[in-house]
């Protein structure tokens, strides 16, 4: 690997240094000095203001602030700043809990760097997306904003395996990348698959490493840094792709065109999941990857059991293809071990829903949704360490439930469900809903996936179950196979979770959801459900900004509910460049 690292340095360092030199020479030092002074002044003003606010408080208010933390979180944002102006004061106990979690974030990041410091450092120069991961602590902060007590610990517990999974994936990618680490050992066992494919299949190949190709360079990072996808989108749109396609495949194609994806892997499993855009992205990526590719294309109308034979056969052939490509043999014992673990995890997940259906929901907020997507779905029982997380979270959740605790500083005033695909550039939107308006998001559509216990003793049925699982993966379960899965399903969930509000994401490029827009609207009115439509463009905040998204909710809450916000400082603020 060291030889590859040196080769990279020899090839790129002179050029990169030249660019850096040019960048430095172009800096307007007067402007930089003025801006620094302005920032210092703003910081001073903020401190003075904070001190004055505390001085003006009654002793009870001061005590409340000391114990329960601050109430006005909008103050943490400053126009034009990527990070918060400071960390949130959550009260003594919760701040201590947060500090422990914060240390955990740095621990995972440090572990990643220590795996291969040279490759990671070179990766920072080679790939623009990698530097966005340096803002992970800020990402965790914004997704836990307003949380208190054991719920804060739960959120950190949920983030830990997500960060570990992400850190492991990044390190593996860079170490295997033929341009950077080029590790022959890793390259021999690395199989790439489309990030829209689940990884449970890898349970049958314990000696191989399966990595979702675009997950780290495009998909996950877009939830961390709202601006990261813009260059990819612009690149492929300049190439000729219409601007109305979904930003996920669009960004992935853009990343392929810009060569922003590491070059590695023995082969690639592409997929038709979950939508038409994803299906089409393969032809772009193929031209960059130039890897042997197996298109895993499961039937769309998955409720029809007649389609299962085709899906299962495709799954079998995909496994055979991996065997032929890698020389590895499918290991049933290992597969069943992992799937048993995954089944156990599914039971824990269902347990969370059951608690959230009660009048005292406990696991709410973005951490839960992100964990589900980035660990429960993507890792799928492969990493045994995650079981501890499930157990700890379950224990803490049940204890909090018995005490009828509230997860946030702000009380839950409304029970809500989020439907349709979420805006990646506003991963913490449910946090804002709760902190500003007391809208507690009990569950999001993308979390409500397949819950059947997968077969762990009959090989034929196990393959069929694996197919059923893949057919019902995130997004696909709802948007494929007929309107009942997303339209009728919503009303069912609204009833089960006893929700009064549906935050209906209107992803302006998702034609699958757009095609049912009128029926959603009509049926919500018939049922007397408050449906708040919130437009977004998934990975492109230029089309609909975070601020625009908030204004939709603000407007509804003020005009229809005629309510006052719980935190007026969060109603309107600018965060166009905030991570």
């Amino acid at each position: 690997m060291l030889r590859a690292n040196l080769k990279w340095a020899k090839k790129n360092l002179p050029r990169d240094l030249k660019i850096w030199k040019e960048l430095i020479s172009e800096v307007d030092w007067k402007e930089a000095g003025r801006s620094t002074l302005e920032n210092l002044k703003a910081t001073k003003d903020r401190i003075v203001e904070d001190m004055k606010a505390v001085a003006a408080m009654t002793p009870e208010e001061r005590k409340d602030r000391l114990i329960n933390g601050e109430k006005h979180l909008g103050k943490l944002y400053r126009k034009g700043q990527m990070a918060f102006v400071r960390r949130e004061w959550r009260g003594v106990e919760s701040t201590a809990r947060d500090f422990v979690g914060w240390l955990g974030v740095w621990a995972e990041m440090s572990k990643m760097v220590m795996k291969d410091p040279i490759s990671i450092a070179e990766g920072l120069f080679e790939y623009r997306w990698l530097s966005s991961y340096l803002s992970l602590p800020a990402f965790v902060d914004k997704n836990t904003l307003g949380m208190r007590g054991p719920h804060l610990t739960i959120a950190h517990e949920l983030f830990r395996p997500v960060l570990r999974y992400g850190a492991d994936s990044i390190a593996t990618l860079l170490m295997a990348d033929e341009r950077i680490g080029n590790s022959p050992k890793l390259r021999k066992k690395l199989l790439m698959f489309d990030e829209m494919t689940m990884s449970q299949m890898m349970a049958g190949f314990p000696n191989l490493i399966g990595l979702p190709y675009q997950l780290m360079p495009v998909f996950m990072v877009s939830e961390i840094d709202q601006l990261i996808s813009i260059p990819y989108i612009d690149a492929v749109e300049s190439y000729g792709l219409p601007a109305d396609t979904c930003p996920v495949p669009t960004s992935e194609c853009g990343a392929a065109i810009m060569d922003a994806l590491p070059h590695c892997g023995l082969g690639f499993i592409s997929t038709s999941t979950p939508c038409d855009g994803s299906t089409m992205a393969t032809s772009y990526q193929d031209r960059r990857f130039r890897l042997p590719t197996y298109p895993l294309t499961l039937p769309v109308r998955y409720d029809d059991e007649d389609t299962l034979a085709c899906g299962a056969e495709d799954m079998r052939r995909c496994i055979k293809w991996v065997e032929d490509l890698t020389g590895e043999k499918w290991d049933w014992d290992h597969y069943f071990t992992v799937i048993k673990r995954f089944n156990e995890q599914t039971q824990y997940e269902v347990g969370k829903w059951e608690v959230n259906k009660t009048p005292y929901p406990q696991v709410i907020g973005p951490a839960y949704e992100l964990f589900r997507k980035w660990n429960y779905e993507m890792d799928g029982g492969l990493d045994p360490r995650v079981m501890k997380t499930f157990q700890k979270v379950d224990r803490a959740m049940l204890q909090a439930y018995e005490k009828k605790m509230n997860p946030y500083r702000a009380p839950i005033r409304h029970r809500a469900i989020i439907w349709s695909c979420p805006a990646h550039y506003y991963a913490n939107f449910s946090n804002w809903l709760q902190n500003t308006w007391g809208i507690g998001v009990l569950v999001e559509m993308e979390s409500l996936n397949f819950t059947k216990m997968l077969n762990t003793d009959d090989k034929e049925e196990a393959i069929r179950d694996l197919t059923r699982l893949y057919e019902r993966m995130v997004m696909r379960k709802h948007t494929n196979g007929g309107y009942v899965h997303v339209l009728d399903e919503l009303w069912k969930q609204v009833e089960e979770f006893n929700a009064e509000i549906v935050i209906m994401y209107q992803h302006v490029c998702c034609k699958t959801m757009a095609g049912l827009q009128g029926l959603f609207d009509e049926q919500a009115r018939q049922r007397g459900i408050h449906m708040i439509w919130v437009e977004h463009d998934l990975m492109d905040p230029r089309t609909v900004s975070r601020r625009d998204m908030r204004s939709k909710v603000n407007s509804y809450m003020m005009n229809v509910f005629q309510e006052e916000p719980l935190d007026p400082s969060l109603v309107d603020f600018e965060d166009d460049v905030t991570w």
Binding site: S272, S283, P295, T479, G515
Partner: protein
């Protein structure tokens, strides 16, 4: 050239989804089965007393109601059909054979099912699952879907004869139409063809939208006419082009292209003849339904197919057609908001230009093209660029000769 005898008659048939031939067939007790996509094997909707109607929404005006149901950023073809269905323009249908191929069309079909409330007493909508690649097990899957979702439903609801014999009969009739259209289409290879791209589009659309048994004689007559049609000594067109892309059922689109001076010599789009008008060959030793289904999967050029060989097939077909029919350039088009063709057009238009050496015009277009001044300008510019290329080529050839 002298006008084709039946052209105005054919054009008139295309002015309404529920044209006089459909009404005639219905009055004879036939069943109208609507469909929208090539993935639904047309020939199988012509069994026994059924006749297929590939749905269009000619003269579409406002799409406000459909836009409420499907938003303003979905395919206009889908919205136009929904609007037409809600208005009552598709009330003649006895069944709608949908495929879950593209999400937007699937949603359109679902909205028709839930909102439009078509009056047929036994009217039903069915959805078939369509594979993304062509392999033995996906062909089998396709056959099962078509049998269970389409044929069995027609048999159960209307008592339609779906036997092998009935399928063979339908294939025979289908093949007669295909032979006529193919022979007419072949004339486009000539340097001064006795048929225009617009006329061909009219004839071909009629075969998709009318009961076949009612148009065969006039089609045959038109073929005879074309065989002996006198062409003008000086060709009217300035360049020859092939069109590749998503559905075009809008005659104004082809008219607009030809008004700009480009003769359309190859129609590789949905509702075109490549694919769609190939003869279906049947043997006697294999299940007939399987043979028909395999034919449709193999000849399909839909970008939804994502296996390597199908991706390559699409590129090779466009290249082959352009060369065989003497097209000087290719127009890659997509209807606005079509995801499949949006991705395909952007990438393949580069590939055709850079790797296959074809001049390419890449456009997206509305469902109704007539009013688009921008499209007209782009077509004119493309024709000019092809003329310039021709002149440059001639010059270079001349210089080399010198």
């Amino acid at each position: 050239m002298k006008d084709l005898k039946h052209l105005i008659y054919f054009e008139k048939l295309l002015e309404n989804s529920n044209n006089e031939l459909i009404q005639q067939a219905k009055s004879e007790g036939k069943l109208a089965v609507g469909y929208t996509c090539f993935h639904m094997p047309e020939v199988l909707l012509n069994l026994d007393k059924c006749f297929s109607v590939r749905l269009r929404a000619p003269k579409t005006g406002s799409m406000d109601i459909a836009t409420y149901y499907m938003s303003n950023y979905t395919c206009e073809y889908c919205r136009a059909l929904l609007e037409r269905a809600i208005e009552g323009g598709l009330n003649f249908l006895d069944a709608l054979a949908g495929v879950d191929a593209c999400a937007e069309m699937n949603r359109c079909t679902e909205n028709i099912e839930l909102v439009a409330d078509l009056p047929g007493e036994k009217f039903f909508v069915t959805h078939a699952d369509i594979p993304y690649k062509v392999e033995d097990f996906t062909v089998e899957h396709y056959v099962t879907q078509i049998r269970n979702r389409v044929l069995s439903r027609l048999h159960e609801v209307y008592g339609v004869d779906i036997s092998d014999k009935a399928i063979r009969r339908a294939v025979d009739e289908h093949n007669r139409v295909c032979r006529i259209i193919t022979e007419i289409g072949e004339y486009r290879k000539l340097s001064n063809p006795p048929i225009t791209g617009y006329e061909f589009h009219v004839l071909n659309l009629v075969t998709y939208c009318c009961p076949k048994y009612l148009i065969l004689d006039k089609l045959q007559e038109t073929l005879e006419e074309i065989r002996t049609r006198q062409v003008d000594p000086k060709p009217w067109f300035r360049a020859r082009v092939a069109i590749v892309g998503s559905e075009i059922d809008d005659l104004d689109m082809t008219r607009l292209i030809e008004e700009a001076g480009a003769l359309i010599v190859a129609d590789r789009f949905c509702f075109g003849s490549f694919p769609g008008r190939e003869v279906i060959g049947l043997n006697d030793h294999e299940d007939v339904l399987t043979q028909v289904c395999r034919h449709y999967l193999k000849v399909s050029e839909c970008p939804r197919f994502m296996s390597d060989e199908k991706i390559l097939q699409r590129r090779e077909t466009a290249d082959r057609l352009a060369r065989e029919y003497g097209a000087e350039g290719i127009i890659y088009e997509q209807i606005k908001f079509c995801d499949f063709w949006g991705f395909e057009r952007a990438l393949t238009s580069h590939i055709q230009a850079e790797e296959y050496g074809h001049p390419v015009l890449s456009i997206d277009r509305p469902y109704n093209a007539r009013s688009s001044g921008q499209l007209r300008t782009r077509m004119q510019a493309f024709v000019e660029s092809l003329e310039i290329k021709r002149i440059q080529k001639r010059k270079q050839g001349g210089e080399r000769t010198c």
